[in-house]
Symmetry: C2
Subunit: 352 residues, 2 copies
């Protein structure tokens, strides 16, 4: 059996689960490499993937005998089959944070399950720790992102629109990667005050501030980086805010290491922002992997200890409504004694 499924079966034993229903397609891809619509069932003795005619051929070509996964076409699965899958299972786990309430009720009906049990993101928690291959993919995505940013700095000229710049980034990524890991943010002037700005037809002007938040995918793994930079000159008012954001981004980078609490990291930045009259209005960071946003979340809401080989972002930002905003973000690998920044673009004042 493939090692990830083997790991999961061991985990099931320790949780006293005799069966497990996995619905989240990203978790299914992580465990099996299958990219399709369907459900993965771990029954007492078998690993079963149920999909439909659109995907059967493709799923068969993805799997090897070594995976030990039996594939069914949903049209060939009878009412009795469903009821037999988890027969004699006392506890069957499901993904309560992915499965809708409607599907939860349907599972109980269809599989005749007595005890459908919450599994508290066991797979997502495992996904937080990246193996060598995963890190290598993220590294490549980050390297291409650095190169793209270097290129885009030479490309941008006053008169171009935000949309035009975003398109150029997308084109760069498309030629070299599996595509974007999220919709590129190119915000200029007062648009930078919106953390989630969508590129507009606004034209870049002399003395503009520009924020670009960008990332791509390599072999299914994401990169994520933000830089705020300037055309011609940096106004004094913005410089102060930039320095404060950069100082906190650097301090966080220096604090990142195995064992550190995500809540304390966030508090540190929040406090320093408050002392200077500003707020931290979004998370300090998030995990990056097969999803652009995944566990662990670095905010005051949840407390997680960072662990070796987690890959997370570090992205403090300050936004002055109607005026401007500054955000600086890197994708970072946590190590035993510190961290390695996987995105490496310049963070001191960039003026084009």
């Amino acid at each position: 059996m493939n090692p990830k499924l083997q790991w999961l079966r061991n985990k099931m034993s320790s949780l006293d689960l005799q069966g497990l229903i996995i619905s989240n397609p990203i978790n299914i891809k992580y465990l099996t490499n299958i990219e399709a619509e369907g459900v993965l069932l771990l029954t007492r003795k078998e690993n079963i993937y149920i999909t439909d005619g659109r995907y059967i051929e493709d799923v068969h070509s993805t799997l090897t005998l070594f995976d030990e996964i039996i594939v069914y076409d949903v049209h060939d699965v009878s009412k009795d089959d469903y009821e037999n899958f988890f027969m004699f299972c006392e506890n069957v786990g499901f993904e309560e944070s992915y499965v809708t309430y409607a599907d939860y009720k349907e599972f109980i009906r269809k599989y005749k399950i007595n005890n459908l049990v919450e599994t508290e993101k066991i797979i997502e928690k495992q996904r937080m720790i990246k193996d060598e291959e995963e890190i290598s993919n993220i590294q490549k995505a980050c390297e291409i992102t650095d190169n793209c940013f270097e290129y885009i700095l030479t490309y941008i000229k006053p008169g171009m629109t935000e949309k035009q710049i975003a398109n150029e980034i997308e084109e760069y990524y498309r030629q070299r990667t599996d595509g974007l890991s999220f919709e590129t943010i190119v915000a200029s002037g007062e648009n930078t005050s919106k953390p989630h700005a969508v590129p507009t037809e606004r034209e870049i002007q002399e003395k503009d501030i520009i924020t670009i938040d960008m990332g791509c995918k390599v072999n299914g793994y994401c990169s994520d980086m933000t830089r705020t930079f300037f055309v011609g000159d940096i106004p004094e008012e913005i410089k102060k805010v930039y320095d404060l954001v950069l100082k906190n981004q650097t301090q966080t980078q220096e604090a990142f290491k195995d064992g550190v609490s995500t809540r304390i990291l966030t508090k540190m930045v929040e406090n320093d922002f408050k002392l200077n009259g500003h707020d931290l209005i979004h998370s300090l960071g998030h995990g990056v992997g097969m999803e652009i946003h995944e566990a662990p979340y670095i905010s005051y809401r949840t407390d997680t200890q960072l662990k070796e080989n987690m890959v997370v972002t570090n992205e403090p930002g300050i936004y002055i409504p109607g005026k401007f905003g500054v955000r600086i973000e890197d994708t970072v690998q946590i190590t035993k004694f510190g961290c390695i920044s996987l995105t490496k673009s310049e963070k001191n004042y960039i003026i084009i």
Copy 2:
């Protein structure tokens, strides 16, 4: 109050709901134009949207006084506020097909709700019937799709890769629309046997069969069209299958009108395919609107009566594993006495 929220409040009265929690961002956009992360609460007397600092500015600039929506920053909402929102509400509705089981439990805890009630997709059902503005947006998206297809037929040459063609389509759309409504499918040769093929580095050859499934978004509304066509010549074996698919696509188009059963439509095609030794391995079609796949679903699984001003696809297909596949798809507006095909590209043999 805006007419869509007013409609929903009337609906709530008729269902004896004193409160409603709307979580699906597409439904929120449909009702309010807000594009953000947050939740819309209809309480006894107020419409409340709770979001976070990243979106506050943007949400305020989207809404007008006329909307009668009060916006809160999630950080300013206390435990007591949550418990007060639905105080004295007997029944509070939620979206059981969107909300996860974990969130369902969290709703009960956080809002102290006694009776959290399933609402059976009331908003999605309303979204099935498009108004004039919605149809006009879909029409534009379809027109640009027809133009893009006409252009791409002149662009394709033997030696090009599937990816290259998909990129050209994307570029065409990006210059003229809000972007893709889904990842473009360009499949050639035996890759056409996979209904959900992803573009590969395979090069187009003389005498190839090519399937392109494509669509874009205009003002947030989608188009969807598929054509299967040929390089130089059509092999006799494929011609037979093509004729059978086209015959059924045409017959479905002729059968589409207000009042017709989606299950019977699907059965008709299934039967004719079976008589000729083939299967219909996917749905015959689906609704198109703000989402590329939305209600109604045209398959044997559910039975819906088509209604005037629904917009749906008509996309029969036949796939011979390892050999080839043929699919022909239009986006179609249902009318009182028939239907209007919004995509209008040629469906008889296309040979480039």
